[in-house]
């Protein structure tokens, strides 16, 4: 068994620099939070969670699992585990039918794992309720919600009024649940309702086309190009579907924070954790496809109040979703 040095905390993660990705960033944020709270820690990076069965965590008081599977396969006392749950990784689904059956069989054991862990920290209330629907009895002394955060270095409130054109940005993987076709449809609707304004979409998908709106697509966006798209935009748009039965829903919607860094409000669907991120008519608009007339009225209100909405979005992103919030996460926690 791999034996690590004696420290109070162990972080287990599937992603760490130089690997890029949301979990890599999340791990770094937690490291910084522990440093601020003067806690010593070690980090174990896994490629396959089954590697964790070889880790000896007996000398650690707490194990922070950036992805719960690290703790699930670990052989240490489950009550040492704090699990961070980000979204659809808790759906017991796989496109592979054999893996899907295995996950369904393992489900009671996995629920039991969460039940017996020291803490479960969910990225959204939606995610917590989802696990509850699978059998987890929510216990508020163990389970909590902590919304996602972002590195706000380089954040800037860009003064970007709407004159004759509305620029929307949508940077997502072009997969069915991200609903790019739904985005085009809504933007075409917006164009029809606002005939004096040109509608343009900035996107990383080269597949989508439209006769009614202009699309500026760049398929391989570098980091700086992505940031430039956000900076230029008037609205970010994310209309993800809740495809929980196919293994996906939007846990929180990090792109809304990426856009929010520049004061760009978001239009989001009322699915997953998105309505917990975007507060209707405060820092964006929540779209319910059952009430399209209402959406267009609300969008007009957003246009009428656009400058204030940008200001709200920027201040809210910086004050409530800065990565510095992680350092507060560990304050005054029991048994620390």
């Amino acid at each position: 068994m791999t034996k690590l040095t004696t420290k109070k905390w162990l972080i287990t993660t599937p992603d760490y620099p130089p690997r890029l990705g949301g979990l890599s960033t999340y791990t770094l944020a937690l490291e910084k939070a522990l440093e601020v709270n003067q806690q010593e820690f070690d980090v174990v990076v896994w490629n396959d969670p089954r590697e964790m069965s070889k880790v000896d965590a007996s000398s650690y008081e707490r194990v922070l699992n950036i992805h719960y599977m690290g703790g699930f396969f670990g052989r240490w006392n489950t009550q040492k585990n704090t699990n961070f749950i980000h979204g659809s990784e808790i759906l017991f689904y796989s496109p592979n039918i054999i893996k899907r059956i295995i996950k369904k069989i393992l489900r009671p054991k996995m629920i039991s794992y969460f039940q017996n862990s020291h803490e479960n920290i969910f990225i959204s209330e939606f995610t917590m309720n989802k696990l509850n629907s699978f059998g987890l009895n929510v216990d508020y002394s163990r389970d909590s919600v902590f919304h996602n955060c972002i590195d706000t270095n380089g954040a800037e409130l860009i003064d970007n009024n709407i004159i004759s054109e509305i620029l929307f940005v949508c940077i997502v993987r072009d997969v069915p649940h991200k609903n790019l076709d739904g985005v085009i449809k809504l933007l075409e609707d917006i164009a029809a309702h606002n005939p004096t304004l040109k509608i343009k979409l900035l996107t990383n998908s080269s597949r989508i086309t439209s006769n009614r709106i202009t699309i500026e697509a760049k398929s391989e966006l570098s980091d700086s190009q992505r940031e430039e798209f956000y900076r230029r935009a008037h609205f970010n748009i994310l209309l993800s579907k809740d495809d929980s039965d196919k293994g996906f829903y939007e846990g929180f919607g990090l792109t809304c924070l990426e856009a929010g860094k520049y004061g760009v409000p978001s239009i989001v669907s009322n699915t997953g954790g998105l309505p917990e991120n975007v507060h209707h008519l405060y820092n964006g608009v929540v779209f319910n496809p059952k009430f399209t007339d209402e959406f267009h009225d609300d969008f007009k209100k957003a246009l009428g109040n656009y400058s204030k909405m940008r200001d709200n979005t920027f201040k809210h992103t910086l004050s409530s979703h800065s990565i510095d919030m992680f350092s507060k996460l560990f304050r005054n926690r029991k048994n620390l």
């Binding site: 002394s141 919600v145 405060y282 409530s320 005054n332």
Partner: protein, 391 residues
């Protein structure tokens, strides 16, 4: 003189019961019979009975035996086979009990919630009731499971003179969505809950001493009290520097409901620690709560049908910080009659409390709240004028 039967939804004295007891007195030239449902014997309704007599010393009070099986099935929302069977048997029993009350002779049947609304609706249909049936919604109508069939019955009753009352425009909107194309067969109106007997404080009284934040609600997870504990844990030092000496949690689980409310208090106690600012005060009268707090924190995680505690705070001159979901968002106008926060936004909550620690902002908000209260009372006056004309 019109005869009115006011049928309560519960034997336990809660906000809804307090509200209707004072609201009903706004009916002109009416003789009111107060009908209290009882499940476990008359003693459980003692507080409600005392409250009615305090309001109307000569009140005529009668009891309606509410079958236990129906009461617990409707409270838990269970729709399994056993629950369905209990509900069916219970419904037959309650219809027979309603028959004994001679309600058919009443000019108005006023039902104060869903548990009593459905049996009285069915009863009204059976006896071809010719008076006015009022269904007073105290919560958003749930449109799932067995409840879909309940609303179908409501929509079908086109020959019955129906008034559907909401306690906020947010609830009214839900009722209209529910009734959809059948809206024309029912009158749908909104009446805000009354404020009750709250002593008005001088604005900003004692603001310069260290402050106490209060949370006053039933202890249910959707009221978000656990988020207050999380917030206190994260911002304890900053709150002390702001001059906040205590966060007092008032309330108890008054409606004895199964499901998610069980054990919540124990979980909250587990979450709190000895050196925290949090203290649990249990159930206390509104006047005692508002005499001892400086700011009311309202952290509901779901749309609140109304938020009576908010207007009580307005009346007491206490600024409110609220998540403003549902009806509560009609009362708290951000930066005017209160401050708005978002659920789980602990940084936002800290910012709001920081603003209120400044006396000038505190006074502005407290004054704005009392102006909003005047607007609410004016809406109520207009409503009673209209309703008295209809009745």
């Amino acid at each position: 003189m019109k005869s009115v039967a006011l049928l309560y939804n519960s034997p336990v004295l809660g906000g809804a019961e307090r509200s209707i007891t004072s609201q009903i007195l706004n009916l002109n030239e009416c003789k009111i019979t107060y009908v209290i449902p009882i499940v476990d014997g008359v003693d459980q309704a003692q507080d409600l009975k005392d409250h009615i007599l305090e309001s109307s010393p000569n009140a005529k009070i009668t009891y309606l035996q509410y079958p236990r099986g129906l009461y617990s099935a409707s409270r838990s929302g269970g729709v399994g086979v056993v629950s369905l069977f209990k509900m069916l048997i219970g419904m037959i029993q309650i219809l027979m009990n309603l028959k004994r009350l001679d309600l058919g002779a009443m000019d108005v049947l006023w039902t104060n919630g869903n548990k009593i609304g459905l049996p009285v609706l069915l009863f009204s249909k059976i006896i071809s009731y010719e008076g006015i049936f009022i269904w007073h919604f105290r919560d958003y109508p749930f449109n799932g499971g067995i409840y879909r069939h309940i609303w179908k019955q409501l929509k079908k009753s086109s020959s019955l003179k129906k008034i559907l009352l909401a306690n906020s425009f947010s609830v009214e909107k839900s009722i209209k969505e529910l009734m959809a194309s059948d809206c024309n067969n029912s009158e749908i109106m909104t009446i805000y809950n009354p404020v009750g007997n709250i002593q008005r404080r001088d604005l900003g009284q004692d603001h310069d001493r260290s402050m106490v934040i209060g949370v006053a609600s039933m202890l249910a997870p959707w009221k978000g009290i656990h988020t207050v504990l999380e917030f206190e844990r994260m911002y304890r030092n900053e709150l002390k520097e702001l001059g906040i000496r205590e966060i007092a949690i008032y309330g108890g689980d008054i409606y004895s409901t199964k499901g998610e409310h069980q054990n919540y208090l124990n979980q909250l106690l587990e979450l709190s620690s000895q050196d925290s600012l949090i203290s649990f005060k249990g159930k206390q009268q509104p006047k005692d709560i508002f005499a001892n707090i400086d700011i009311l924190l309202h952290t509901s995680l779901r749309p609140e049908p109304f938020g009576r505690v908010i207007i009580e705070a307005f009346a007491a001159g206490i600024p409110v910080v609220s998540t403003c979901l549902g009806g509560s968002g009609e009362l708290v106008v951000n930066s005017k009659s209160g401050l708005r926060i978002h659920p789980y936004d602990h940084a936002g909550l800290y910012s709001a409390l920081s603003d209120l620690s400044e006396k000038s902002e505190y006074m502005n908000i407290a004054k704005g709240a009392q102006e909003r209260l005047v607007e609410v009372e004016s809406q109520q006056t207009q409503f009673w004028k209209e309703l008295n004309m209809k009745i």
